[in-house]
């Protein structure tokens, strides 16, 4: 009997897999002919990355060698592209005029790498990353000593290309348009970790970068120019910005195609004898570039071609990155969404980040970094739509723990654990080690156990488990945990830990803190974010970029929000001094912008109340014109320096208190602090400037200046304590700045100076700023450095329209449009 002829166009993964699936079901049904444009046998294209990296050879990635074609009596035309399909006559025409008739035809033409139409993209040394020729060109380029590569595209393919080139000894830089690597698969936290992991492996990344032009020299690529003017020199440029389905042949032959070749659920095209599988198809509007859906399609197609049942329903996607030692998994709705909940786990010691998204009691997606062994399990739960309500508590710890504990109440489960069961993954402490330490050393609290065994001493995520073990061992003898309060519900770390880690571990971004300190939320909360933003700003002046979205509204818009959503504006009046011109300008502004209230403040300045947010930049511009700048009346930072008139006018004045106040304010304005800081300088002990209830106060006496600290007159009434007396104005300014810097570096966010003082003690402050003059000088020097980037008038920046322009006007106004209807 003559077999029906099955012709396959495409000798790649999809084409060959389809044939394999058909042969598996009915080996005797078809006489198979395969056309391949590449001259090789079928190889595993996904494994090109390890070949590039030198971790595998081409032979390792061959899926079907020549023997396979021979044994299955398949005719292979390798290196022979099909040029036309005659649907009427049911035959294909290949290069060289070869014509082959078919009973059934499978198109598996795959996809083409997308090339950005940049000037210079035709230069020598510009390649894509798609086939063996590309890999060979890349390997050859990497052979030149000192060669550099730039890869455009921070997706899966681009990163694998860059990693492979770095492994080959090339300096590799990835240029990515978005702010997060693999943004379609990863959230920001995982993206941050990936960036770090790649940097350790010699791959630099430039994010948010727009490519403008490929620069050449003598017809060869020499660098990539970015829109911001930077030029990244390179000898090889890899474009890995995506793929598009190759539907050219199908379109030319008259088959229906949009982005890809349109197929139904049995992979049939618009012609009943023609089928398509793989990256070239468009199924229910979707095109796929990953391997799992292709396997699904091949199965569905094979069923159809062998009279089986089934069909393809589309695929739920998951992704794994193939970079050695970097375990990354992503699937489903990994960023959450409406009605979704996040469960987040971080283990900084192992560089692990896991996020599982739950929707309607089911797993809706997951991102795993550093430990992706449970990726498959989450993916199965997700696809099966399993209700996970009962295993929610332990879900994030993975399959082994969850299934080990299921069906037991927590304390019974812990009691049932063998002594060898690991409780603390960070420090490798098993249950037996904890119970043993408790009984032999008479431990009674979590802190004891932490100190002796290290269990739960790192990330703290096993704390409930450790407490269970202690409770079971001791019964009523267990003392519940006390200790420093965590910053907020996002972390178990207190403020002090965070400050210390930022400096000692050189954490320079919010995401670095979240990961290293194992935050349990994806992006913090309104309580930890402003604190961390300040800590980072204080630790890395000039280096850390202030995150305005982590600022309270008052600091974000440099004005004070009022109960009705309007703002108040307080220009600076140095030392409480003003002039007729300034007052006239203030009066004009109040008139011009219909400002309903003008009030004299307790800090010797003038407050304009009830300003509309949209008017703020214009109000500031007018005040700037009259020489006034922001008074930072909204800041966790230096606010006012209140003064009395001192020796200039007062018959009791001992020193020029006004002059010193102005000098202090001019020197210290703009500095951010853990909480608001108010200063005052009184010219004599009558203390008309009320120095003894300020955060830092000066009382002038005949022989010099008394420096007082730690006063408050708000929620708490607190008199200052005398720190010391100094002889000169310069010394007073240096000492006050040193105290300020010590507070800036050591205070907890929202902790006023008086609370900070109560916590660390006046003696500590005195030892470091009065007794130890070297330390005082060092503190002063750090304050000076920090002021270099702090003293920019935020009002002028915003009045110019160059900074935060979107903040002060609505995104859109539908007022007129809707009113007209």
């Amino acid at each position: 009997m003559t077999r029906e002829r099955l012709v396959v166009i495409g000798n790649g993964m999809a084409g060959c897999r389809a044939v394999e699936e058909v042969l598996k079901r009915d080996p005797a049904r078809y006489d198979v002919t395969i056309f391949g444009a590449e001259p090789q046998v079928n190889y595993n294209r996904i494994m090109l990355s390890p070949v590039l990296a030198g971790e595998k050879t081409f032979d390792d990635i061959v899926i079907n060698d020549e023997a396979w074609y021979r044994d299955n009596a398949i005719t292979l035309h390798a290196g022979r592209a099909v040029t036309a399909i005659d649907l009427e006559g049911r035959k294909v025409v290949a290069e060289g005029g070869l014509e082959v008739g078919y009973g059934k035809l499978i198109l598996a033409t795959g996809s083409d790498p997308f090339r950005l139409p940049l000037p210079g993209s035709d230069l020598k040394g510009v390649v894509t990353f798609r086939d063996l020729d590309d890999v060979e060109a890349m390997v050859e380029a990497s052979g030149k000593p000192g060669a550099r590569a730039v890869v455009i595209g921070g997706g899966l393919l681009g990163l694998e290309a860059a990693y492979g080139l770095a492994r080959r000894g090339m300096g590799a830089t990835v240029v990515h348009l978005m702010d997060v690597l693999m943004e379609r698969q990863l959230d920001e936290s995982a993206g941050y970790l990936l960036r770090e992991a790649l940097a350790e492996r010699g791959v630099e990344t430039v994010l948010g970068a727009h490519s403008e032009e490929i620069v050449g020299q003598d017809g060869k690529v020499a660098g990539l120019k970015l829109k911001d003017g930077r030029v990244l020199p390179c000898d090889l440029l890899v474009m890995a910005v995506g793929i598009r389905p190759n539907a050219t042949l199908a379109k030319a032959s008259g088959l229906q195609a949009n982005r890809g070749i349109v197929v139904d659920d049995v992979m049939r095209t618009s012609d009943p004898a023609v089928f398509a599988v793989g990256e070239c198809v468009e199924h229910r509007g979707n095109c796929y570039g990953l391997v799992a859906p292709i396997w699904d399609m091949c199965r569905a197609l094979a069923e159809e071609l062998t009279d089986g049942e089934g069909g393809y329903q589309g695929s739920v996607l998951s992704t794994r990155l193939k970079v050695s030692g970097v375990d990354v998994f992503s699937a489903g709705k990994f960023t959450g969404g409406d009605g979704c909940e996040d469960i987040v786990f971080r283990d900084a010691a192992r560089g692990v980040y896991k996020r599982v998204v739950i929707e309607d009691g089911k797993v809706a997606g997951a991102v795993l970094f550093g430990d992706a062994v449970d990726g498959g399990w989450y993916f199965d739960l997700m696809r099966a739509g399993t209700d996970v309500a009962d295993i929610r508590e332990t879900l994030i710890f993975g399959q082994a723990i969850t299934e080990g504990l299921s069906g037991l109440d927590p304390s019974a489960a812990v009691a049932a654990m063998p002594d060898t069961q690991e409780i603390c993954g960070c420090n490798g402490v098993c249950k037996g080690a904890i119970t043993g330490a408790i009984t032999t050393q008479g431990l009674t609290s979590l802190d004891d156990v932490r100190a002796v065994t290290k269990a739960s001493a790192s990330c703290g995520s096993c704390t409930p488990l450790v407490e269970q073990v202690i409770r079971l061992t001791l019964g009523d003898g267990f003392k519940a945990q006390t200790g420093p309060k965590p910053m907020c519900k996002c972390t178990h770390h207190p403020h002090g830990d965070a400050r210390k880690a930022i400096v000692e571990l050189e954490l320079k971004s919010m995401h670095a803190v979240f990961q290293t300190m194992e935050w349990t939320t994806p992006d913090g909360c309104a309580s930890c974010r402003p604190a961390l933003n300040y800590y980072l700003l204080c630790a890395w002046p000039g280096e850390y970029a202030d995150d305005s979205q982590s600022r309270y509204i008052n600091e974000r818009v440099h004005a004070n929000i009022q109960k009705d959503g309007t703002y108040s504006v307080v220009p600076r009046m140095w030392g409480g001094m003003t002039t007729p011109d300034e007052l006239r300008a203030i009066a004009d502004v109040a008139d011009k912008y219909d400002i309903p209230a003008v009030k004299v403040t307790g800090g010797q300045r003038i407050d304009l109340l009830g300003v509309q947010k949209d008017d703020l930049p214009a109000v500031w511009a007018d005040l700037n014109k009259a020489g006034m700048v922001s008074g930072h009346a909204y800041a966790k930072g230096l606010r006012t320096v209140k003064t009395c008139v001192g020796s200039d006018w007062c018959r009791f004045g001992t020193q020029d208190s006004t002059g010193l106040g102005i000098k202090l304010e001019k020197f210290m304005w703009g500095s951010w602090a853990p909480a608001k800081v108010k200063l005052a300088v009184s010219g004599c002990p009558r203390n008309c400037a009320e120095s003894t209830c300020k955060d830092i106060g000066v009382i002038c006496v005949d022989s010099g200046y008394e420096i007082h600290v730690g006063g408050a007159a708000g929620l708490h009434i607190q008199g200052t304590q005398l720190l010391t007396k100094v002889a000169t104005e310069d010394e007073a300014i240096q000492l006050i700045s040193a105290v300020m810097q010590m507070y800036r570096e050591g205070g907890w966010y929202l902790e006023r100076i008086y609370k900070w003082l109560a916590r660390i003690g006046l003696d500590t402050i005195r030892a470091q700023t009065v007794d130890d003059l070297d330390n005082r000088a060092a503190l002063f020097a750090r304050f000076v450095v920090s002021q270099e980037t702090a003293q920019i008038d935020p009002w002028a920046e915003r009045a110019s329209g160059r900074v935060a322009a979107g903040e002060f006007k609505p995104m859109a106004s539908l007022t007129l449009e809707m009113a007209a209807e």
Binding site: T521, D523, S548, G806, M811, A812
Partner: protein, 116 residues
């Protein structure tokens, strides 16, 4: 987020997603008052009437974290998807949700319904 709606003339284009800062919000002025349009850290867009159920603070001025916003006046935390206060304030009133749709990077807003 996925909203199963058809685009009809009631949807208004109010700008690009990228006009809203990440982990931030913008106001849209309407005849019935401001609408707050939020963009979360994971790139999703939500919209609420710009008014906290507590003392009517402008939610667009709050700090956005996760899928919530903290009101700038008294730190109530409002869930962006539902307009419900969370934590200790749960159940004390609700901010109306404004249907919002993202299409081709543009933010489309339904005509808001203001409830007292």
């Amino acid at each position: 987020m996925t909203l199963q709606v058809h685009i009809d003339p009631d949807w208004r284009d109010v700008g690009a997603v990228t006009d809203i800062p990440e982990r931030g919000a913008r106001r849209v002025a309407t005849a019935q008052g401001d609408v707050a349009v939020f963009r979360t850290g994971d790139g999703q867009v939500f919209a609420l009437v710009d008014r906290c159920p507590h003392k009517h603070g402008p939610l667009s001025q709050g700090i956005v974290h996760g899928h919530g916003v903290t009101c700038p006046l008294h730190s109530w935390v409002i869930e962006l998807a539902t307009g419900q206060p969370t934590g200790a304030d749960a159940g004390k009133g609700c901010t109306p949700v404004v249907p919002v749709l993202v299409k081709d990077g543009r933010v489309l807003l339904a005509q808001p319904v203001m409830a007292d």
